[in-house]
Structures are given as C-alpha cells and as structure tokens.
C-alpha cells in the first residue's frame, strides 16, 4: 500500500467513525423518543451539543491529569478506529488484530478513569469503580465470543475474519454459522454500551452521572465525542465479527445501524440493574451461551 494512501485512510477512518457515530447517537435518541411517544431531537442535535459544549466560555479543570484524561479518552478511540476495517479501507488492521483492538479500546476508559480520579469527587470515583466492575462483567462473555470467532476463522486478523465471512455470501456469515455465539455477543455488546438496564455507572439520580460529574464545557464535549466513537466501534465490531462486515458502504452502514438499534430499542424499556445483579446476569446467560457456542466451534 502506498504510504500516501495509508495516511489518507488513517485520517479518514476516524473521521467517518465520528460522523457515523453522531448519526448513531441521533438514532439512539430518536428511538428512545419514539418508544416514549415523543418527537425526539432534530437531525443535527448531536452536532449542536458538541459545538455548544466546545464553545463554552468558562469551564473548570481539576489539574493536568483531568485534561490528559479527556485527551486519552478521545485519542484512544481515534487510534482504535484505524484498527477497525471498513469497506475499502483497512488502515492498520493487519498490524494489530482483534485482541489488540480489544485492549486498545480499554485505553479511553483508562484515560477517563484517570481524569475522573483527579476531579476528587467521590461520585466520579464510584462511577469509575462501577464502570470497571461492569467491564469485568461484560468482557468475560465478550472475550469468549471473540475467542470463538477467532478460532473458527483461524486468525485474529479482522480483515481475514471479514473475508472468511464474505467468501460464501449469506451462509458464511458468523451469525449464521455461529448463532449461539452471536446471541451471546449481542448481550455482551449491549452491556458494553452502558445503556439501560446496564447503566450502573451513569446512574443520574444516584451518583450524579458518575464519571461525568465534574465535566463541564469541552471536557463533557470530549466525552460526547467519545460516545459517538463508542457506539460506532461497538456496532461495527459486531458487524465485522458476525454479519460479514460490509462489501459496500450502503450495506455496511445499514447493518451497523440495525445492529445498534436492537440493544437501544431494548434499553429504553427497562430500569436499571444493581451492580451485583448485572454481574450475575452477565456471568450466567451470555457466558453460558458463549461457552456452548465455543463448544460447537471447537
């Protein structure tokens, strides 16, 4: 690959992710509104929010680590997007693979955790403690699922995993070949989004939105950007693992939005689990399904 081409890909991939991510945020809010029989926000609402937050005139910082935390939260995802192949662009997906991607996706959380830590607000710390606990809950089934997919494809290279699925059309999709794993993956993915009923670390009425409690202006704006990336990454990862990625941008985006619509539609029908209930749920059903799925694969 020509270096120029690669550089353009590396720039384009996060940019696309951000734009698509904003539309996903919009879709999420619209679905919530429809379920609650409301009209919902206008089309550009996510953009308005981000621009507004970045245009705040005064905002507080609790120190250098607070700033760096936000930079890490955004930058980690920007880097992660280049490991996530999209139609026509593979970026550096072949240099890392899925395990690297999985661990790279923890960097933003780590950055956020550090930034929140320096805010010296116990609400934030409790939020992070819960977020890490939630991560312990949903990463176990997620890792089982990823093991199953990678083992079935015989590679950890996402490009190859997608190629294997696209080889035989619809029949070779991961979701068709490994339906049990796909279901387990969907549950784990739902929990990783941090939406109801798994939003233990946001918990507005309880710990004042947890990690975001001391985030004002561009700090909160950074987290809004991060949320766009998070939605995009999660759904595209699922599409790449189970729905054969995308051959064209149209079916790729269609699949991504549809995949995201499933957990989001479920989310707004439920209240919140307690932490230990989330753990219990995650360690029971998706893990069980995942192990059964892996047993089929082996």
């Amino acid at each position: 690959m020509a270096p120029m081409e690669l550089i353009i890909e590396l720039i384009l991939m996060p940019l696309v992710a951000f734009v698509v991510g904003m539309m996903m945020v919009l879709m999420m809010r619209r679905i919530a509104a429809k379920l609650q029989r409301r009209i919902g926000p206008p089309f550009f609402q996510p953009l308005y929010d981000i621009v507004k937050l970045h245009s705040k005139r005064t905002q507080v910082s609790h120190g250098l680590i607070h700033d760096i935390g936000i930079v890490m939260a955004m930058g980690g995802y920007i880097a992660a997007e280049t490991l996530l192949p999209v139609p026509g662009m593979t970026g550096i997906a072949e240099k890392g693979g899925i395990i690297t991607l999985l661990y790279l996706m923890m960097i933003p959380s780590l950055g956020l955790a550090l930034g929140v830590g320096q805010c010296a607000n116990p609400n934030g710390s409790i939020g992070i403690a819960r977020a890490l606990t939630a991560m312990l809950a949903y990463d176990i089934p997620l890792v089982i699922v990823i093991f199953g997919v990678a083992y079935a494809a015989g590679t950890t290279n996402l490009v190859d995993i997608i190629a294997v699925q696209q080889a035989g059309g619809f029949e070779t999709w991961g979701a068709v070949q490994m339906p049990v794993l796909a279901i387990a993956g969907l549950i784990a993915m739902h929990a990783s989004l941090g939406k109801q009923p798994f939003e233990i670390y946001i918990a507005p009425a309880e710990i004042a939105t947890g990690p975001m409690v001391e985030m004002s202006g561009k700090y909160l704006g950074g987290l809004f950007v991060m949320q766009c990336f998070q939605l995009y990454t999660t759904s595209v990862l699922y599409v790449s693992l189970f729905l054969g990625g995308g051959t064209t941008w149209f079916d790729f985006l269609l699949k991504s939005f549809l995949v995201l619509a499933i957990p989001v539609s479920i989310a707004y029908l439920f209240p919140r689990y307690r932490t230990e209930d989330l753990l219990r749920l995650m360690w029971k059903w998706p893990v069980m399904l995942g192990l059964i799925g892996v047993a089929f694969v082996l």
């Binding site: 409301r38 009209i39 621009v51 507004k52 609790h62 120190g63 250098l64 909160l220």
Partner: protein, 237 residues
C-alpha cells in the same frame, strides 16, 4: 424594575465575515442545545415532568435535563427560595460553566409569591444572581414553561442573553446583597474574582467595597498546582 433591562447588551460582532458566520453558527448551536439543571426548591418542579415527557417533549427543542451544575446551561429555579436554600443556589450557579442562564419559575422567585411576608424566604432572586427570565404563575403550566424556554432560545440566538457576564462584571453588587443576607463571613468555595480575571471578564463593578470584605477573610482558594516540590521549604519536624 425588570432586572434584565439594567444589563447592557455588549455587542461583539467581528468584522471578518467568516468569523461572523462562525459566531452566528455557534450562537445557533448554543440556542439549540440547552442542558437544564432543575433546582427543585418548591412546588413548580411538578410542572417539569409533563414538559419533558411525551405531551410537550422538551427534547425536540434540544433541551435535556442534566444532573450536576458543571454540565448544565440553564439553572431552573422552580419555587420559593428560602435563605438557607439560596446559599446552595448561589454555589450551584457559580459552579456552572458560562454561558449560563437562570430561569425563575413561579411567582415565588419573582417576589416571594405567597411567602411574601415570610422571614425565611428570599424575595427577589435577581438581587443575588442575574436572572434571564421569570416565568410567573402559581404554578405556570408546561406551555408557559416551554414558551419561556423558547423565548430564552431566541434571546440566546440573537446574543441578548448574556446576563451571566453581568455576574462577573457586577460581582460587587451581587456579593453585597448576598452579604446583607448571609453576613460578612459569606464565602463560597468558588472564586469569582480570580475567575473573572482569568477569563478577562473584569468590569467596573467586579471589585468594590463588598469584595474587599470578602478578600479580607477569604481562605486561599488557589488550585493545587503540580510541582516537583524541590523548591519547597523543609517541613518542620
């Protein structure tokens, strides 16, 4: 006297046409994305759930509830403000990031309403912080709340809603009123004077005799700067 009228509108239109378009865009975004912090001090709060949910749906105007003052743009004070509550309201207001707007909902925030002769209720909210908009009524219906919010959006879009600057530029006036109520030892953990200096929002009324009183007894509020500590004096042992 309406407090909004006394706040001068400072027009800062830039000459560069691109910059003006940009400013216009930013103002538009500001007006279409408002996070409210509802400080539910009294009965008016009960009118907010209908305003947010399916009947009136605030979100279609880009208005969302938020939880902590750091994230919010609008401080919504819904009902009477007792003097004890007022301290917290002021702290909450000072912790919000500018541009910030205050809406007083219900008659109580205008002049005490039915608590007009109560010794424990603050009467004029705009003496203690700049109020952008009052929505009178006991209590105002959700339609009125939404109409008020839309009016605020228009004012933000046209650049008129900059009363938050007044709190920095005329801090002495607000501080004086606060001191009258809470005594001279009044101090919040926030530091408005250094903030005004930091953001270049010092006005003629920022400093005055009331801020002098504050500075006399104010406990130091400097941020903890990162330091290697080799320049420190030896701790006494």
């Amino acid at each position: 006297m309406n407090s909004i009228n006394k706040i001068p509108v400072i027009e800062e239109k830039r000459t560069n046409p691109l910059a003006r378009v940009f400013d216009e865009f930013v103002r538009f975004c500001r007006s279409r994305s408002l996070f409210i912090l509802h400080y539910c001090t009294g009965c008016g709060a009960i009118e907010l759930p209908p305003a947010m949910t399916s009947r009136f749906d605030m979100e279609r105007l880009g208005i969302q509830p938020m939880v902590s003052p750091r994230q919010a743009d609008i401080l919504l004070i819904t009902g009477y403000v007792s003097i004890k509550t007022l301290k917290r309201v002021i702290l909450t207001y000072e912790q919000m990031g500018s541009p910030k707007y205050v809406i007083g909902i219900c008659s109580c925030t205008v002049n005490g309403g039915m608590y007009w002769q109560s010794y424990a209720t603050a009467k004029k909210l705009d003496e203690y912080m700049p109020v952008d908009l009052y929505i009178a009524g006991c209590m105002p219906r959700p339609e009125a709340v939404l109409a008020g919010l839309q009016k605020l959006m228009d004012r933000i879009h046209s650049g008129e809603a900059n009363s938050w600057e007044d709190y920095f530029r005329n801090y002495d006036y607000y501080l004086g009123n606060q001191q009258k109520l809470f005594g001279e030892n009044w101090q919040t953990p926030t530091d408005i004077i250094t903030e005004a200096k930091h953001y270049d929002l010092i006005g003629e009324g920022t400093l005055g005799k009331h801020t002098q009183i504050l500075e006399q007894h104010q406990k130091p509020l400097e941020a903890l700067d990162m330091r290697l500590g080799h320049d420190l004096k030896e701790p006494t042992e």
